[in-house]
């Protein structure tokens, strides 16, 4: 039997800041803040390291309470503070749903349209490395060429994948039980072709499911947990992390079909648990208010704030400077253009008269422009573009291309992507130009500087 999550006892003890509840809560927070697949080596970090990571993650999200940062990392005390931190996270965002979505078993062929987890944001946090030897510019150019080549490879592989996928969808159309889907996905077809599959298949299937890739047993390492009720609201947040070897060992005797069924069943139980949680959530928040009450009110310690502020990584500050530079350049251009047009306009229409008809027209124009610009502003102020859907989508082939209300049509997505492409190309050209200008400006100050050709196609 698999280890289960923290019992309700842990949470009751935490309310009274009992030390024995502390380690479990550190672990729970770690799982919530840094959800990692079980085979990731980070999942088995020492508790102190986990605690430190939890602190830093909370800090970067803006956790308001200073007490957390002061907690010892050995798990000896602080359970109430950890409980508060957990509730803070739960209050801010739909944590259970997010965790479910992360470990969801994708049954279909999926494609993500937005770029949340795209290659665009390279992983390693760039360290402040001072290279010992100056790097030859040719090495950089070689790297850039290699990158271009890899992209071309990706594109051609992707095109082939699309052709094959399209064929599979076409050939299996009409046999899916779910009418809205109509045809099988690759995962479903593979399950039919080889339900009992050999070792080779199993190793393959645990790969990372992203964008047209397959995720047959992605959720394999998460076990089912008992359902939730008002007394056990936490159980489903607990993910099995303690005995991954045991878990995988048990399941390796199952055929992929059986394992998939089991995973899906687990997911269903977890879904039910989250639904129950949502229905009875109010009870929890009322209880948390009492927890907060038991905390001694802290006097604002303004003097000690210096040590505990969230750290802004240094290179982010650099990015702000860059935006500032871009905006200022833009402002200059606009100023020039606007003044020029204004002068021309005044000259032309200065004598047009100030009749009521004229001022009505002016007002109408002003309102129209304000409305347009307001819409433009909303485009960047909203974090999420409502027209741009978020997350992966299941690809479905239909000859007529008919789509329901909630569905996306490929043609529309193509339009959106094309406009995005145009926008990004403009930005890129702009940046390349700035780079050239900047270097040219400074070249005079530093004779002998070698100009590095800008990145580009």
């Amino acid at each position: 039997s698999l280890p289960s999550g923290p019992s309700p006892e842990i949470f009751r003890r935490a309310k009274f800041d009992r030390p024995e509840a502390t380690p479990a809560l550190w672990q729970l927070l770690f799982r919530v803040l840094a959800p990692l697949p079980l085979d990731n080596p980070l999942a088995s970090l020492a508790p102190e390291v986990q605690a430190r990571l939890v602190k830093s993650a909370l800090r970067s999200q803006g956790y308001p309470r200073l007490a957390l940062a002061q907690l010892p990392e050995d798990g000896s005390q602080g359970s109430r503070e950890l409980l508060l931190a957990l509730s803070w996270l739960l209050a801010r965002g739909p944590v259970p749903e997010q965790m479910l979505a992360q470990t969801r078993v994708p049954l279909g062929d999926e494609m993500t349209v937005c770029q949340c987890e795209a290659l665009a944001s390279p992983g390693p946090p760039a360290p402040q490395v001072r290279a010992e030897d100056p790097v030859d510019v040719r090495y950089v150019q070689w790297l850039m060429g290699k990158l271009r080549f890899r992209w071309r490879q990706l594109v051609s592989s992707q095109q082939e994948q699309c052709t094959l996928l399209s064929k599979i969808h076409l050939y299996t159309s009409g046999c899916h039980g779910d009418q809205s889907l109509g045809h099988l996905s690759v995962a479903e077809a593979e399950m039919l072709r080889d339900p009992e599959g050999g070792q080779q298949v199993r190793g393959f299937w645990s790969g990372n499911p992203q964008n047209l890739d397959l995720a047959y047993l992605k959720g394999l390492h998460f076990s089912c947990t008992p359902g939730m009720g008002p007394r056990t609201f936490w159980k489903d947040l607990w993910l099995v992390c303690e005995q991954p070897g045991l878990l995988l060992g048990d399941w390796s005797l199952l055929s992929p079909l059986r394992a998939l069924l089991r995973t899906l069943e687990c997911e269903n139980r977890r879904l039910e648990a989250v639904l129950t949680w949502r229905r009875t959530e109010l009870v929890f928040w009322q209880w948390m208010d009492t927890v907060l009450d038991t905390c001694a009110p802290r006097a604002p310690a303004a003097a000690s704030q210096g040590t505990f502020l969230p750290g802004i990584p240094e290179h982010r500050g650099g990015e702000l400077e860059l935006v500032a530079w871009e905006l200022r350049a833009l402002q200059e251009e606009l100023q020039e253009a606007a003044e020029c047009r204004r002068a021309a306009w005044e000259a032309k229409a200065g004598g047009c008269g100030r009749g009521p008809e004229w001022s009505a027209v002016r007002r109408a124009s002003r309102e129209a422009v304000e409305k347009e610009l307001g819409a433009l502003q909303r485009c960047w102020e909203q974090d999420r573009d409502p027209a741009q859907p978020h997350g992966p989508h299941r690809l479905v082939r239909r000859e007529d291309g008919a789509a329901g209300d909630w569905d996306l049509r490929a043609a529309e997505v193509i339009r959106t992507l094309r406009s995005q492409e145009a926008c990004l190309e403009a930005v890129l050209h702009q940046l390349q130009g700035q780079c050239r200008q900047g270097l040219a400006r400074l070249a005079g100050a530093l004779p002998g500087l070698i100009w590095i050709p800008p990145l580009g196609r």
């Binding site: 840094a34 800090r59 803006g62 508060l84 997010q98 078993v105 994708p106 049954l107 949340c116 795209a118 290659l119 390279p122 992983g123 001072r130 100056p134 850039m144 095109q159 082939e160 994948q161 052709t163 094959l164 599979i168 299996t172 159309s173 479903e188 072709r193 080889d194 339900p195 070792q199 199952l254 055929s255 059986r258 899906l264 928040w285 208010d289 907060l292 502020l309 650099g318 400077e321 905006l327 253009a337 606007a338 047009r341 204004r342 229409a349 129209a368 502003q377 960047w380 974090d383 978020h390 997350g391 789509a403 490929a410 043609a411 995005q420 403009a426 930005v427 390349q432 780079c435 800008p454």
Partner: protein, 402 residues
Amino acid sequence: MLPRDCSGRLVAELQGALDACAERQLQLEQSLRVCRRLLQAWEPTGTRASEPPPGPETNEEDPPPACTPSPQDLKELEFLTQALEKAVRVRRGITKAGETDKVPSPRSRSTVAPPGTIAFAPPQNPGRAGGRASDARPTKGPCQTTVPPKGHSERQLLSLGHKTRVGTGARAPRPGPGLRDQQMAPSAAPQAPKAFTLKEKGHLLRLPAAFRKVASQNASLWAQLSSMQTSDSTDATAAKTQFLQNMQTASGGSQPRLSAEEVEAETRRLWKACSLLRLRMREELSAAPTDWMQEYRCLLTLEGLQAMVGQCLHRLQELRAAVAEQPPRPCPVRRPPRASPSCGGGADPAWSPQLLVYSSTQELQTLAALRLRVAMLEQQIHLEKVLLEEEVGGLERRRTRR
């Protein structure tokens, strides 16, 4: 030579980009392998020409039955039998009640199997039929417990062609995938079910009933979750907001400091603003106004854009001031990708994937190609920014140092 300071970061970023590409390529290739295999002939398990499973013995053929097993072989056989028995136990535990247990009793008669592989003899076949290569599909016999051919129409059926291929009423000892004859009568001399391709028979496949049931339950639960999300009870929301406020006051009541994530999000927003404003400016400047009203509009727009840029710069100053107050600290841990997605994860109403409907291969290819192009552009922009930041910033620093 590149200035010393910037080379390190640029090279690191480039290598990161290369690694990401390589990983992506690997996934694609895995995927391609599966797809290609699906489109080839689906051979029934007995005659499948798949890669031999890993095992110390490369010889897939049966040793002739007359060969006396060596003590080594017997030991291995014993080990295998134990493993198989355990497998059967596990399977029995999982199998729904009522499914016939088709584990063949003559299993123990399956003589020397290549070690490292688990091969079952089919019930009526001691040894292997026709000297066919034992391509060690690990679970031949018990596989029938998982999808027992009970003749239910919901089971995987190939209603049409299969009967004619396999022969009347003959049950394949190792039933082909997805093709189950209606009456799986045992046969003494099993005939190999013929291979077929997805092209010919794809539309006749059926998913197993067990799977369909679980999958539809899954879909409906996700739908419930989505609808619950959109119609979130106001009580709970109010309670949450109240709780957050209480926490804020309890922790000292000072104005919430700007977190690293928020600064990042704001910076991204400002970037987006910059590019949108610039694009709009270009549009206005390139449009040729035909009458004075349009000209007036154009003028107003340009002035409006100018004002907006001013607002952005103002906001930027505020951000700069907030950042300057706080000591910079290196980022110790790589933030999980969903922590602050550029798309803003919190407000997503649909947790399970919506459908993306396409109508032709061409369309799908265009879609995929565009997506890659956008990703590539974003990466290029990022690298260009890095270059700018480091180089120009570095040069500026050097200049001001003089």
